[in-house]
């Protein structure tokens, strides 16, 4: 996290900030370490700077951005450092699964052994049944993520994976397969948020940030429609409204593909595809880098990686690179508006960030 933070600070030209926000989900469990804010401040040589950790399950990084953005928007801070970080590989696979389960109700899903993956598996089945689709129209999303991660320096799995390989990988929780869910990874990403005051003084390329959030019932099966992330729909509408842009103006999108089925439901819940149709659009190339709506342009959660608390910040960094023309071989053609969707649990929290090129 210190490494990523130093890079962000260098890029911004700032050596001091008013506040630090840290996004992290599983540190207390896997590293038995709380109090990350003060620790990072010390490790950055910024003792004295207010700092604390923000948590919203897998959306912790985006939640940290949200907290930082609010402080800027309130006028109380001119510059805020937001870092997301996670070290999942310190845990065995069953410990990482337990960590993920903490994003659900411990005394309900946790007690049943109905972990994050099995809840997704149930949604997967309900989805296939309602829309009459086969698993290839859901597994297309991890395939697409991998396609875009090819050769990406900061990706965990910078290579392509065929649909056949995905559909023949072993089940985690049937019908959800191993290659349909993000792996166990480590990583950190950081951004510097500034207010109007500093805008003219900072020379590096900037983008305008809008962010919105909403929650939903913890258990998808208690929602009015388990196959709709209401939280995401609301947050997307709010952020579009604030940024004064339409859905059609969004040039690229970072989707929370922690699992293949969450990717499909996310696109449909946020109005970028009709219910049941997202897979077909993906197959047609709509979400390719050169398509109508480029998706997960550096590999998303599946291929770039999903170190829980870092993910939400990675997404925004990647949008920022795209909108400032610094995306290298993954560059999308002249994007003006990018959206990042970060989900906590199975959509109980949705935090949506929108960046506009300036």
């Amino acid at each position: 996290m210190v490494e990523a933070a130093l890079k962000a600070l260098d890029d911004s030209g700032l050596s001091r900030v008013n506040s630090i926000y840290v996004g992290n989900m599983a540190g207390e469990f896997l590293q038995e370490q709380a109090h990350l804010g003060a620790i990072i401040a010390e490790d950055l040589g910024m003792v004295g700077t207010p700092a604390y950790r923000v948590e919203a399950a897998n959306a912790s990084g985006a939640a940290a951005i949200h907290a930082g953005a609010l402080e800027i928007a309130s006028g109380r801070a001119d510059a805020v450092l937001v870092i997301g970080g996670e070290k999942l590989s310190d845990g065995l696979i069953e410990e990482v699964s337990s960590a993920l389960l903490m994003g659900e109700r411990q005394e309900y899903e946790g007690f049943m052994g109905a972990d994050f993956y099995s809840i997704n598996a149930l949604l997967y089945k309900l989805y296939m049944r309602r829309y009459g689709v086969e698993d290839d129209l859901i597994a297309v999303f991890p395939m697409l993520s991998h396609k875009h991660a090819k050769g990406v320096a900061h990706a965990q799995y910078p290579f392509e994976v065929s649909l056949e390989k995905i559909l023949s990988s072993p089940y985690i929780s049937e019908p959800l397969r191993r290659f349909e869910v993000s792996g166990v990874g480590d990583g950190a990403a950081a951004i510097v948020l500034i207010g109007e005051e500093l805008k003219s003084k900072i020379k590096t390329p900037k983008t305008e940030l809008y962010i919105s959030s909403a929650t939903d019932f913890m258990t998808p099966f208690e929602r009015e429609d388990p196959l709709r992330f209401q939280s995401l729909g609301v947050a997307v509408n709010k952020v579009l409204d604030e940024a004064k842009v339409d859905r059609g103006d969004v040039d690229l999108i970072e989707v929370h593909d922690a699992t293949s089925i969450m990717a499909a439901i996310s696109l449909e819940s946020s109005g970028f595809a009709e219910p049941g149709e997202s897979g077909r659009l993906a197959m047609r190339g709509e979400f390719d880098l050169g398509g109508r709506l480029p998706y997960n342009t550096f590999g998303g959660l599946k291929a770039r990686g999903n170190p829980f608390g870092a993910t939400g910040v990675y997404q925004v960094v990647e949008l920022h690179l795209q909108l400032t023309g610094r995306a290298g071989k993954n560059q999308v053609d002249s994007p003006k508006v990018g959206m990042a969707q970060s989900l906590g649990g199975v959509g109980a929290t949705a935090i949506v960030t929108l960046l506009k090129a300036v």
């Binding site: 699964s97 005394e107 993956y117 985690i172 929780s173």
Partner: protein, 138 residues
């Protein structure tokens, strides 16, 4: 140690007893102060029906820590006979019996142990309903 956590949830885990919002009927597995659906503050204790049907199920192959030695096991989304949707493990199913729509009934089973020396956490699971002959009502 999960002693107190398990103890304070045993009504629900042993007998599917919970709380329903008097206004909108939303079910809560532990006593709420505010209804999660409509915000109302009035509740009544209910014992959920013990029978229902499977809406969807999945077989967990890679399990979280506490369930590692129980895998593979089945998790089901069950619709009880009063419409309440509930998650629970499925048990005692043969391959032929395991299908969407299958009738189930709740039974008490071991869910997990709190380590080698800790307590045994019992709770409900669903098994195929055993048909009993229609009875003559007294």
């Amino acid at each position: 140690m999960r002693v107190s956590r398990h103890w304070r949830n045993k009504l629900f885990r042993y007998r599917l007893v919970g709380w329903r919002c008097v206004s909108c009927g939303a079910f809560h597995y532990s006593k709420p102060l505010v209804c999660k659906r409509c915000g109302s503050r009035e509740f009544r204790e209910v014992e959920l029906p013990k029978t229902g049907k499977i809406l969807a199920y999945t077989m967990v192959k890679i399990a979280p820590k506490d369930f590692k030695d129980k895998a593979p096991y089945l998790v089901g989304l069950v619709e009880l006979d009063d419409g309440t949707k509930i998650l629970g493990q499925l048990t005692d199913f043969t391959k032929e019996e395991l299908k969407e729509g299958a009738r189930v009934e709740a039974v008490l089973r071991k869910i997990r142990e709190d380590g080698e020396n800790g307590i045994i956490e019992y709770g409900f699971k669903f098994r195929p309903e055993i048909r009993r002959p229609p009875q003559a009502r007294a």
